[in-house]
């Protein structure tokens, strides 16, 4: 299953046997990075789980301050963006430069929509005095550890948000490269690699949504 037509071999670096080996090596490297990402977020998930086991009532009370509708919409937005990301690879596999570009742009648009909704959620909380840690001044939750829940909330959603912003940059870079005609059915490694990253960002949100918003 190698793509040995000499016309498309220009992307193969000299230390690889062929395009296939280069592609597999790049993907394996990305998966190793994703493993570190899973354990990176894993530390925060561990903090969440331990604190919830200690103070189950706190989570029930504090979760009422999170807007389930906005969280659900954002879940849908990210799932849709994962679909368009995968479809951009599908289009590249079919040598369809125009569709690849469109799907990448739709993915970027979804990522921006996600961040805009997140912005409204954050500013609403800031307005109420719900800040992380010692800056917390909200009095609506009758629990001495309420500020800790929101520290965990801001750390988890904040780190996830940073990943979304980085994703926007990466996908924009893909879009620029695609415009130059860098991708075809024999070479679309960067889209594949960024796609893996983007799907992981989606998976993290798939867990954050029920863990933070759907507690009662």
């Amino acid at each position: 299953m190698s793509h040995n037509s000499s016309a498309v071999q220009s992307h193969v670096a000299h230390h690889f046997v062929d395009s296939e080996q280069q592609f597999d090596a790049a993907k394996f490297g990305m998966w190793i990075f994703l493993v570190t990402e899973i354990l990176f977020f894993g530390g925060l998930f561990a903090a969440y789980i331990i604190y919830r086991a200690w103070y189950p009532d706190l989570y029930t009370m504090a979760s009422t301050q999170l807007d389930t509708t906005m969280g659900a919409i954002n879940t849908g937005v990210l799932i849709f963006s994962s679909l368009t990301m995968a479809l951009s690879i599908w289009a590249a596999q079919h040598n369809d430069k125009k569709k690849t570009g469109i799907f990448l742009l739709v993915t970027i648009a979804c990522a921006f929509a996600f961040m805009v909704i997140k912005y409204f959620e954050y500013t609403h909380k800031f307005h109420l005095g719900i800040f992380p840690g010692e800056a917390y001044t909200f009095t609506g939750i009758d629990h001495p550890k309420a500020h800790i829940f929101f520290s965990i909330y801001y750390m988890m959603t904040g780190l996830h948000g940073i990943h979304v912003i980085i994703g926007i940059g990466l996908i924009f870079w893909l879009w620029m490269k695609n415009n130059k005609g860098s991708f075809n059915s024999a070479y679309y490694t960067p889209i594949e690699i960024v796609g893996l990253y983007w799907h992981l960002v989606d998976i993290i949100w798939i867990f954050l949504f029920p863990l933070l918003y759907l507690i009662d």
């Binding site: 561990a46 679909l83 479809l87 799907h199 989606d202 863990l211």
Partner: protein, 101 residues
């Protein structure tokens, strides 16, 4: 080693997205029937795990990918469980809860 170059199927990708959307609706809707704790958490996490499985297998295409990549992913989850599990063996058996936390 199996090849990473697998043509994606348009139909499979769309079906996956629809399944994910349906599961999202279910996980929100299931809240209104107020399942008693801890089963509500179990249901919510189970649905999230199924969704993550769909994303990993169909969007990230691990089902057709190199076994190395699958192994890396499985081990990351395993080590995450070790991290959480061993930490809880400490934190859950302290009386009282660590002062200051």
């Amino acid at each position: 080693m199996s090849s990473g170059h697998h043509a994606l199927s348009f139909k499979v990708l769309i079906s996956t997205a629809i399944a994910l959307a349906v599961l999202t609706v279910i996980t929100v809707a299931v809240r209104s029937i107020h399942i008693p704790s801890p089963f509500n958490i179990i249901v919510a996490i189970s649905i999230a795990v199924v969704k993550a499985y769909l994303v990993v297998m169909y969007f990230m295409n691990l089902r057709n990918d190199s076994r190395f990549n699958l192994l890396s992913f499985v081990f990351s989850v395993l080590f995450l469980l070790i991290l959480v599990g061993l930490t809880m063996l400490d934190t859950m058996f302290r009386v009282p809860i660590v002062p200051g936390f």
